[in-house]
Symmetry: C2
Subunit: 248 residues, 2 copies
DNA sequence: CGTCGCTTTGATCATGATCAAGGGATGTGG
DNA sequence: CCACATCCCTTGATCATGATCAAAGCGACG
């Protein structure tokens, strides 16, 4: 059973492995980053915009979102964070956190002091390279959504968002060919894509009517991946980083 | 004359210095990254989406933009690149480039092979850290514009964009208190902010009428920085990274 | 059983897109 | 030196995407 097998792998190692080959020693270090598991209930904010942090949080289990609440009261979701992601990048690398992060589901995270990550540059520079390389991939994900929000229609944006999540979930072994479990509310989708809840609702109904996509009770089921990708104008490349290991 | 003085400094060193203290040796390495100056005329594309690159380009002089042309024919400008920036991050770190980059003005860039940058992790890990730290800051700039496009009105977006550029230009000594020279066309502003040209025109007229901002012949003059910042809901923090040097 | 969190739907409104046309400045070739 | 092209800005008229406002439905849960 591949799912069970994957369940045993360190989420962080799995994420970093997407763009780099890890030595046994490096995997050990990454596992040490996961040594302080801390359970969080759903809807719990564990990074707050404006506060100062001296650590990051590795997400071991569960889904979180990174967002900002603007002065005008609206919320913009900057990204969805999956197991293996570092919550707090890049937000916590500034004088005060740039975004808030909260869980969508019951989660487990492990704090890692910033100094430990920085130390890696001295102690295990190649591992540091691999970690920072994966930060760069995360940056590409953000840029793709910037493009989507700037120039796609509401329908296309929703398609793009779903394909992004499907692909990322697959990459860490948490999605099968056509579906994944993330409790996407319509409000959340709207806040991620710059749309209102009623409009997201209409777009989702259209996708459901056309038998392209169904979201039900926290499970997203893609009925027609071709139609969805077509709508999304999706750039697969941005989830295929060069393997940094080849470059050393 | 501070301007003349700054003109002598390596653009790359100046950029990295914003978030880290550089040793003399490190500055030398950075200067070596600038050793192959290559002049480019304005409007010249030097990175093309979909092509493969094995190097980055340090921008020594001039302004460039990073963008994608979508299937529907529209263009989204992902970012504006200033002297000291690495063109090709993160776009060139993938199988094929994610974005195109072209100059807005006559420019000078210097190619740096990706392997040289990666080598730094072995040879000068602390310098590598500082460079990747600055990539992280760039990622924050992108995320801020994502937020702006997602949740601000056209007027507010334009204000935000101008304040972003003013602040970044000031950080590298290319802007005074209230103005800077970047040939922003209305089309460019629209493509950066997800707006149409006629609408950008109207917004700019409003800002001009209210004596807040004037753009004329490639020079942006901020008449009322308070009003502009107020509109922009601008998060100063994101341009004030922690000093990585303190963390070692 | 009532509240909460989320979805759904309809009616109206407005921001900003699109379409169309023209204008001014600069540059270029004949 | 003129003719024409290019690039960019400007303005107006109309349209439409998606926001806002309002209300109701509907599970799940305590």
């Amino acid at each position: 059973m591949p799912t069970a097998e994957l369940g045993l792998v360190s989420p962080l190692s799995r994420k970093i492995s997407a763009s780099a080959i890890l030595s046994a020693g490096e995997s050990d270090v990454l596992r040490s980053f996961e040594a302080n598991p801390r359970p969080l209930r759903r809807r719990q904010e564990f990074i707050t915009e404006g506060r100062k942090y001296q650590n990051l949080f590795v997400i071991l289990e569960g889904i979180s979102i990174r967002y900002r609440v603007l002065r005008n009261g609206t919320r913009q979701v900057v990204g969805v964070m999956l197991p293996g992601d570092f919550a707090g990048v890049p937000g916590c690398l500034f004088e005060s956190a740039l975004y808030s992060v909260r869980t969508l589901t019951d989660s487990v995270v492990s704090p890692v002091s910033l100094s430990r990550v920085i130390e890696l540059f001295d102690v295990q520079p190649r591992l540091a390279a691999k970690i920072f390389w994966s930060f760069t991939c995360d940056a590409a994900v953000t840029a793709e959504r910037l493009i989507a929000i700037g120039r796609l229609s509401a329908l296309e944006r929703v398609a793009h968002f779903v394909v992004e999540l499907l692909t990322r979930m697959q990459a860490i072994g948490l999605a099968d060919e056509r579906s994944f479990a993330i409790p996407l509310t319509q409000e959340l989708i709207g806040d991620a894509l710059g749309l209102s809840v009623p409009h997201v609702n209409r777009v989702l109904r259209q996708l459901r009517d056309e038998n392209i996509l169904k979201i039900k009770e926290g499970v997203v089921i893609v009925k027609d991946i071709d139609a969805l990708s077509e709508l999304a104008d999706f750039e697969q490349t941005y989830l295929k980083p060069l393997s940094i290991s080849e470059l050393f």
